[in-house]
């Protein structure tokens, strides 16, 4: 059901307005409120400003991560040269995410707090043109909320995993990545 902009209130109840106090609350709520209009007028500018700040922060983060990556690679390269060990030794193993498609699905992507909920970052691969889709991802140790995006537009939880607590933004599943046996 789609709310029309002119509808105002979302639904109406038969019992609202029958009580004089309820009617008074309703009329107080709907009275002209100049402040509300002024606040509404500033929303778009505020979102645009926050978006600019977020982009600047992201650019700085990408730069910092790139710098860190270069340093780390160099350090690992030199450590391997010193010890002869593989640079992957001791790293967190990949976590395998599996989705079993029940309908007509041509693309499946993994979204979660570990990839910024980006539906293009982590596509799953189809196993032998069947219903099984998998992807292996290195996820930091700890609990993570995630979901799958089917055909680029349909958001779904993982039916095989527990539900994450609802943060008000839509249902998600939860996975807990542990360090594994030592």
């Amino acid at each position: 059901m789609i709310a029309h902009p002119d509808d105002g209130p979302l639904h109406s109840d038969a019992d609202s307005g029958a009580d004089p106090v309820a009617a008074r609350i309703a009329s107080w709520y709907r009275a002209d409120l100049a402040d509300a209009q002024r606040i509404g007028a500033h929303v778009m500018a505020s979102v645009a400003a926050r978006r600019r700040r977020a982009r600047r922060r992201r650019s700085l983060s990408v730069f910092a991560v790139a710098l860190l990556g270069v340093g780390l690679t160099r350090w690992l390269f030199e450590a391997r040269r010193d010890t002869g060990a593989s640079p992957l030794d001791g790293r967190q193993p990949a976590t395998r995410f599996v989705y079993v498609a029940t309908g007509s699905v041509s693309r499946v992507a993994l979204v979660g707090d570990f990839n910024g909920w980006n539906p293009h970052a982590t596509p799953l691969a189809r196993v032998r043109a069947g219903a099984l889709w998998v992807v292996d991802v290195r996820v930091p140790i700890g609990p993570h909320a995630y979901a799958y995006v089917l055909n680029d537009n349909r958001w779904t939880i993982d039916p095989a995993a527990p539900r994450a607590p609802d943060d008000g933004l839509g249902p998600t599943s939860v996975v807990i990545v542990d360090p594994g046996p030592r």
Binding site: I2, L10, D19, D35, S46, R51, N153, W155, G168
Partner: protein
């Protein structure tokens, strides 16, 4: 000439895109679509926040925070959900957080319980015209929230439960008790 004009088909106005269509376009980066959603619902959000928080700056911050969160979560919005309800779920949570933060600040700076009880409420920047409005603002925030959603937004209890995360029976009880508390004031004023 006149006949010719009369026989011409009248141009049909382009139908307004639904909220779901606008949200999907906005999620793909279409700023005009997002702007259109803001045009539709920013005033409704501001109205709720002003009545809930009773403080212009807090309300403005809450509304802007709500839209920013909605903007970032658009890809998770599903069209089967009513957009305004989805948006209000975020707004209600943001207003609750604002009130909790305000409570923590008051506790931190005013340690004397007696002084706190008689101190003027500096979290409100409105002088209320009537005892009724004053009492509404003095209600427990959860009770005020229930009254605003029920009688301001005309929501059904099931929608309120989905939006607030509280049970239908708890919400009904909250509304009933808040109405009883206010009813005595209305009778006294009359």
């Amino acid at each position: 000439m006149v006949d010719g004009l009369a026989s011409m088909p009248t141009p049909t106005p382009t139908p307004e895109p639904s909220d779901g269509v606008l949200a999907a376009r906005a999620a793909r980066g279409d700023d005009r679509a997002f702007h259109r959603l803001v045009d539709r619902y920013a005033n409704d959000c501001a109205r709720y926040a002003m009545h809930m928080l009773d403080h212009r700056q807090d309300a403005e911050d809450a509304v802007q925070d709500t839209w920013w969160r909605a903007y970032r979560a658009l890809s998770r919005y599903q069209e089967r959900d009513v957009f305004k309800r989805w948006l209000f779920r975020i707004l209600v949570n943001v207003c609750r957080t604002t009130i909790e933060r305000r409570g923590r600040l008051r506790r931190r700076f005013v340690e004397d319980g007696g002084a706190l009880a008689v101190a003027p409420d500096v979290t409100s920047d409105h002088s209320h015209d009537t005892t009724f409005e004053h009492l509404l603002m003095r209600l427990n925030p959860r009770a005020r929230e229930a009254l605003l959603l029920k009688f301001g937004e005309n929501l059904e209890y099931t929608d309120m439960a989905e939006l607030t995360g509280d049970s239908v029976s708890a919400l009904k009880m909250r509304v009933k008790r808040a109405l009883e508390a206010l009813r005595s004031t209305v009778e006294w004023e009359q």
